[in-house]
């Protein structure tokens, strides 16, 4: 009984080894290299070799490739182990590199476990595998081997772009920002849908559609053969983005406008399947402000993010001026918001809260907006620091009326922003000054508690005690949303 490596070591293309031993040996080697190759797969390989009556290494390779691999990201590891074991690179190899085209993919390295089941048949294999690992994983850190293996190769985009994901938007050049657009395309902006009064036919609806059922029954002699159902129609809410384009906010404004642009037209490559089905793609309205309010929605129809940003610059002449958030909000409320655009909408305000006007105006306008909007999410890049406190006049005034505050200062922080937009509102008690609830968002729960102390210091004890209300969906609430469909 000879084992696999010996048979190939002779250099001849003939396979002499016992098929079962060979299949089991390859299975063990692949498993110790991190592939999920169980005994069932080895058995299937043995059957495949028998069926094909494989006699050459190339035929064995074809059999093994079809039976032992079940994911494109496993192909590289497979090839390496196979080459180690049979010493030959196999014709047809270049074709396999195709799935990784245009993307850099590190081999899915994993340090071979020291106590791998290296018994009789494949005694010398694991050390060899380990050597290969050591040489090829020198560039990658040791710790990330496991993480990389879980990520399908296709989703791994060029690592250069990925490195940008952790950088603050303020440190990105325009070129780097447009590189990020490819990553942003993967994101989907979704906000909770709105129930309408009307019903529509739906196969799995929870109500009987009596009228349709009877109408259909007329065709079958009055016998209701098929039961028609209906469900409440859900419409998407409007997403209103109010974006501060004053000097300090400019880089963040560019990045988030690009996100709005890219995400509003991407197919949502992840697919809206399953969990996201209760959230829907919004109709988006974009406004910018610094000293005055400009409606930017038409510019969003431009062909590329660059032209969109250029058009935005033309349409909003006050890039990099002072900021009067309160006045801009009042204009929005008066001209658009209260007339309908803000009603039931999710409002995203992108600003650092540096108000050069009177904070009291901002507070009053936020209260107005809060009464008509469904939810208000404030993206403030300055909140990225855990020591941030809303002490600036404007932010302190607006704070009680926000449902969530997120930082959204780099690509990775966008997840938090998207989660905040996706979250359904909970029924809030009406806000009267004096019994305010503060916003909380993930790690800002602590920060939310803080302005209380600050307010107390400055003698505005009436504004104190922002209860740490949970704005992220509690389980029953989420369930209620799905059952409403």
């Amino acid at each position: 009984m000879t084992d696999g490596p010996d048979g190939a070591g002779g250099g001849g293309p003939e396979l002499t080894a016992d098929v079962a031993v060979l299949a089991a040996g390859l299975g063990v080697a692949l498993r110790s290299a991190g592939l999920p190759a169980g005994p069932d797969r080895s058995e299937r390989l043995a059957r495949a070799v028998t069926v094909m009556r494989a006699t050459t290494i190339a035929e064995l390779h074809a059999c093994a490739l079809a039976t032992m691999v079940s994911d494109p990201s496993q192909i590289d590891t497979f090839e390496r182990v196979f080459a180690e074991m049979f010493g030959a690179t196999v014709p047809g190899r270049p074709a396999i590199a195709a799935p990784q085209q245009g993307m850099t993919v590190e081999p899915a390295d994993e340090p071979a476990p020291a106590d791998s089941p290296s018994q009789a048949t494949t005694g010398e294999l694991p050390p060899a595998v380990r050597q290969v690992d050591a040489s090829s994983s020198s560039s990658a850190g040791d710790g990330d081997g496991d993480d990389l293996r879980d990520v399908p190769a296709i989703r791994r985009v060029a690592s250069a772009t990925e490195r940008l994901a952790g950088r603050d938007f303020a440190q990105l050049s325009p070129g780097e920002l447009s590189q990020l657009a490819t990553l942003m395309r993967e994101l989907t902006i979704a906000i909770p849908p709105r129930r309408t009064r009307r019903y529509r036919p739906r196969k799995d609806g929870d109500r009987l559609d009596m009228r349709r059922t009877l109408r259909q029954a007329r065709r079958t002699g009055g016998e209701p053969v098929s039961i028609a159902r209906r469900a409440v129609r859900a419409r998407s809410r409007r997403l209103v983005v109010l974006c501060d384009i004053s000097g300090s906010m400019e880089p963040y404004a560019r990045a988030l406008l690009q996100l709005m642009y890219v995400a509003s037209r991407s197919g949502g490559t992840g697919g809206l399947a399953g969990s996201l089905r209760e959230a829907s793609r919004p109709r988006t309205e974009v406004f910018t402000f610094a000293t005055r309010l400009t409606r930017l929605t038409p510019a969003l129809a431009a062909a590329t993010p660059e032209t969109m940003l250029a058009k935005a610059g033309e349409a909003a002449p006050d890039w990099a001026g002072g900021t009067r958030i309160g006045a801009a909000l009042r204009e929005f409320n008066d001209r658009y918001g209260a007339r309908g655009m803000g009603r039931g909408a999710v409002v995203l305000i992108i600003s650092d809260g540096w108000e050069t006007g009177d904070p009291a105006i901002l507070g009053a306008q936020m209260a107005r907006l809060h009464r008509i909007a469904y939810r208000i999410v404030w993206a403030n890049p300055r909140t990225q620091s855990s020591r941030y406190r809303p002490e600036v006049g404007g932010m302190a005034a607006a704070w009680p009326y926000c449902d969530a505050v997120v930082s959204a200062h780099n690509f990775e922080a966008l997840d938090e922003l998207l989660a905040a937009l996706r979250t359904p509102a909970i029924r809030r008690p009406p806000l009267v000054p004096g019994s305010t609830t503060g916003p909380t968002a993930a790690h800002h729960a602590a920060a939310a508690a803080q302005p209380a102390a600050h307010a107390a210091d400055s003698g505005r004890a009436a504004h104190s005690a922002p209860r740490a209300a949970v704005t992220f969906p509690t389980e029953p609430l989420a369930r209620r949303w799905t059952s409403w469909r």
Binding site: R44, A48, V69, A97, G102
Partner: protein, 301 residues
């Protein structure tokens, strides 16, 4: 019965080369590894999962295999929310009701077993494939499994593993001749491991330019070999541009046939501009191509 079938299949396709030649005759050029994988699927009676970028010919592979085997192709297109009733079988309620009415009118007794019989069963693709009478097994194409819900995958397990389905009123129906199941996926989500474990697997990569040219020649006979080569080279250049949707083989074929419609014997920048909409499907991509310049895409720098 099934041993006779596998003997016949073995005679028809004694080795991989025979299958590759048969696929070739139907107009499908399969690489060595794809033919090997399909050969194993046919001879081992194991379902096979084909993955690859959109437009590399996953669905075509199934069609070609059915043609090569000279058998029927049963296609089940998956979509979100697909349920057993659309995939497997449904009772023909209106007919059952009519039968009851008829029985009432003629004062006959109707029993349950009279109503739940073959006659009242509407076979959907999976059952059709299982019931295929032969002589050769049907090719069952389960297209874009990744679009169906997780639950539907679980539902496929029994079917794929046992080549049988259970109908409560009739009992378990076992396939006389198990179909050759081909599953395709675009990888919009990861399939369940249990499903992968039951299947052979092949990743169809994008082939090199020479092969693409061959495929174009085969599919668009009107295209000159020069045009086919130029289109293949241009498409591979486009694929290097980091586009939102890199063109695949099907786009290359459409492009070549569009060019022949225009009567172009060679690929000029002008002709490429007229037909660009067949390869580049996004305004952003169009912009990117314009920036690089059509001349360099078609290879006339």
């Amino acid at each position: 019965m099934s041993s006779v079938v596998s003997a016949e299949l073995g005679e028809r396709f004694p080795d991989v080369a025979a299958l590759a030649a048969a696929l070739d005759k139907t107009g499908y050029l399969a690489g060595d590894q794809l033919s090997s994988a399909l050969f194993l699927a046919v001879r081992m009676g194991q379902p096979i999962l084909l993955e690859g970028e959109p437009g590399v010919g996953k669905t075509e592979a199934a069609k070609a295999l059915a043609a090569a085997l000279d058998t029927v192709l049963v296609r089940l297109q998956c979509y979100e929310g697909i349920a057993a009733a659309e995939a497997l079988y449904e009772w023909n309620y209106p007919r059952q009701l009519l039968a009851i009415r008829l029985a009432e009118a003629t004062h006959e007794q109707v029993k349950d077993t009279d109503l739940f019989r073959e006659d009242y069963l509407l076979a959907r693709p999976l059952l059709t494939a299982l019931d295929h009478p032969g002589p050769r097994p049907a090719v069952l194409l389960i297209d874009e499994v990744d679009r169906a819900d997780d639950e539907f995958e679980a539902f496929l397990f029994e079917m794929l593993a046992e080549a049988s389905v259970t109908i409560p009123e009739l009992g378990t129906r076992r396939a006389m001749i198990p179909p050759i199941a081909i599953l395709t996926s675009n990888r919009t989500r990861d399939l369940h491991d249990a499903l992968k474990r039951r299947c052979l697997y092949h990743w169809i990569g994008y082939p090199d330019a020479a092969r693409v040219a061959q495929i174009i020649r085969r599919r668009v006979p009107a295209a000159s070999s020069q045009l086919a080569g130029e289109v293949a080279a241009a498409v591979s250049r486009l694929r290097g541009l980091d586009l939102t949707k890199p063109p695949g083989i099907s786009e290359a074929i459409t492009w070549a046939s569009a060019l022949t419609v225009f009567g172009a014997g060679t690929l000029s920048a002008e002709a490429a501009g007229q037909t660009m909409s067949t390869v580049v499907k996004y305004p952003e991509d169009e912009q990117a191509v314009k920036e690089v310049g059509l001349a360099s895409v078609v290879g006339h720098d």
